[in-house]
Symmetry: C2
Subunit: 429 residues, 2 copies
């Protein structure tokens, strides 16, 4: 039993037993019977190399979307508890099929639901957070030499005894939390071979990074890199679980996400982008203490992650702008309606032709010239910056959606990230 909340650097991580590995495969890796057999072979190969193997898989292909559509066709507003009962079946199906395929390869396997695997969450349906893991049955099966499959994206609440699902990024979170509880390393398999200096579909000379710090990976995930989900990286950092992001379809080394403290810190490690940002622009918000808090409390209550926030005071009213992922637009609208019940009416506008481009690098902290160089690069390309947000190791600019590819390419070149020699990007700064 290991407390998993709140994840924090002060938690001592268990000494990693090199002999246990948690291997996570996403929905596209188990989309059809051939791919399921392929995943089974990868798990068996790890077992045959002597490791104690835990696999966790997402639902096959678009199963979760299909189940959501089914729910929507039955009910305009599906009951959250029942939605979780429904959605949790997708991962169970995939796990059972992978376990069958492993048996055919002559190995013992056993699949567990989230609750059978002891994944205990809070009772927030469709967006539960993992509280702790009591992997009694997992450990027992590993001790018997079995390959264990755990249904991702789900757990159960001890308060209600009900099945919960973890929301977006839930299977990555399952994998990392299991690795923390088992003292295992964690491998996240997907159809990309690792973390790149930029999206290779946009920047042909983008490089795969051999390793990256938790902090940088957090900023990259928050600013659009899809290879690892934010919450999984947070969990990994909190429990010092090394995560290996790699390809389902090759044996090459991917990218290790781990504690790189004491190592040389690159100024800029990568350029990330997102093309699904919606900017909410609010006018006429009363300029009094707590107004912004009321708005963002309401937004947070809908579990929406706001990225960039800007506030201006015009006369005795404020203008507030913030961006959210497209998926969260409906929840954001609900939150704003609720905020207006408290604050009185204000104008809201949604701007949807925007994208975001970001540069991320741990060495940025001590190099103040980086932001200026980013803005100059975008200006040289004739790209207008609509909104800027910064963290100690990241700078994001909201720009026209159409300009995103050109901006990514220009920044990747400006910070010399395509260099193939041994020095890391930005060393010349």
């Amino acid at each position: 039993m290991r407390d998993l909340t709140p994840p924090s650097d002060t938690h001592a991580a268990p000494a990693a037993q090199t002999d246990t590995v948690v291997m996570k495969f996403g929905g596209s890796s188990v989309a059809d019977p051939d791919k399921i057999r392929h995943v089974a072979r990868r798990l068996v190969e790890a077992r045959e190399r002597g490791a104690r193997v835990v696999g966790t898989v997402s639902a096959m292909g678009h199963t979760t979307d299909t189940l959501l559509e089914l729910a929507a066709s039955v009910s305009p507003n599906p009951h959250p508890r029942e939605l979780d009962m429904l959605l949790s079946t997708g991962e169970r199906i995939a796990c059972a099929l992978v376990a069958m395929a492993i048996h055919d390869l002559g190995h013992e396997a056993v699949s567990f639901t989230g609750s059978q695997a002891g994944i205990i969450t809070d009772p927030v349906h469709t967006k539960a957070k993992i509280r702790e893991i009591t992997p009694v049955r997992v450990l027992d099966a590993l001790d018997r030499g079995k390959i264990v499959l755990v249904a991702g994206f789900q757990g159960f609440s001890r308060d209600t005894m009900d099945v919960t699902t973890l929301g977006r990024g839930g299977t990555d979170a399952t994998a990392v939390a299991l690795a923390a509880a088992l003292g295992a390393s964690c491998e996240i398999y997907s159809d990309v071979p690792g973390v790149f200096t930029a999206d290779p579909r946009i920047v042909p000379d983008a490089r795969k990074l051999p390793e990256i710090s938790y902090e940088e990976m957090l900023e990259m995930a928050a600013s659009g890199a899809k290879v690892l989900m934010l919450r999984a990286v947070e969990l990994a950092r909190g429990h010092s679980v090394p995560v290996h992001a790699r390809s389902t379809f090759s044996d090459e080394e991917g990218t290790w996400v781990r504690d790189t403290a004491g190592m040389e810190q690159p100024i800029v490690s990568a350029v990330t982008h997102a093309e699904d940002e919606i900017l909410f622009h609010l006018r006429g918000v009363p300029d009094r203490p707590g107004a912004a808090a009321t708005i963002f409390d309401a937004v947070a209550a809908e579990h929406v992650n706001v990225d960039t926030i800007l506030q201006n005071v015009v006369g005795n009213a404020a203008e507030v702008s913030f961006s959210v992922p497209e998926d969260d637009v409906r929840a954001t609208r609900r939150a704003l309606e609720r905020a207006q019940e408290t604050l009185g009416a204000f104008e809201t506008e949604e701007i949807s032709d925007l994208g975001k481009v970001s540069i991320v690098g741990a060495g940025m902290r001590s190099h103040p010239g980086v932001a200026a160089r980013m803005f100059r690069t975008l200006a040289d390309e004739g790209i207008n910056i609509r909104l800027i947000s910064t963290s100690p190791i990241k700078i994001s600019c909201l720009i026209s959606r159409a300009a995103v590819p050109a901006a990514v390419r220009a920044l990747h070149a400006a910070f010399d990230l395509g260099a193939t020699d041994t020095h890391r990007a930005g060393d010349s700064e």
Copy 2:
């Protein structure tokens, strides 16, 4: 907690609380969103009439077949434990959707998996038998006024803590066992409005029976009537649960299956038929004590229900014939191979162009002329009888499959089952 095995007449049934009802809906009743909403309305109507309502549903339409095909496409011989993990998802999906639809009608509902509902089985995967039910969460939810949905066809084994499925007829069995444990009455809804004197598609003047005894229903289910599954009727008889078989799509009264002891016993209540029988004909079986036992032990170990058995001794070897449902042919072949390892080789032949026609009636016990009349009726139609099997209240004849409809019509007329006046069929005997 109520012991559910072995079901037997010696178990005292709990006094039926008229206020609790278990309503079971089959896969065709929940095949699409409209039908799911219809089932939700039926459950809500029962609740609004004041009943405590438990619904149990099968997987939607052909979901179970689709999952079986998926398993077959991944593995030539799916591991039984994992097959159960896979198959049990179908009923969970249907239950969650019905619960959502009930919420939209303004009532509280909660869906439970078999294990959440406390359905404890033996550990035989894919063909588990219910041992007992500890419906703690069901009772608690009923006490709070909720409509409870229980996923049919599944439970869990206390020995292994694994999910099990109940095999064919599993959801009917779930409904009856729940009714027994809750002291409830049981309603089995399907697309036919009750139990008929013969299949109305074959015999246009077939009558719906207002009631029928457990014993007759058992024989009818065993000899081809599809409206209620054999094991559910066995459970109902063992626990004296009255079962109302009725239509999903109308409010008319269906057929009550219950204890009719003391009432007038009709000589013949119904004609049933089956067109999926395969006859295994074995030649050269050593004629020594235990040979037949070895064969039928092996067949029973594969959980195949043999219906009709005939044995002849020819010289110092025996000929054995028996019929099984088409679905069980592969399992029967495996069993016969195993029997030959013990007994030595014998010849086996499979005859697949056969059907079965049966007459069932509790009054038959005291009327010896019934069999002769059946045989004469078939002879008058020019139909050859291949094999005969009898019980005290049933006579079955294996005949050519093509002759089944004519045989059913002739027998229905010969025993005067189409009469619309008040006297029951066969009273004229």
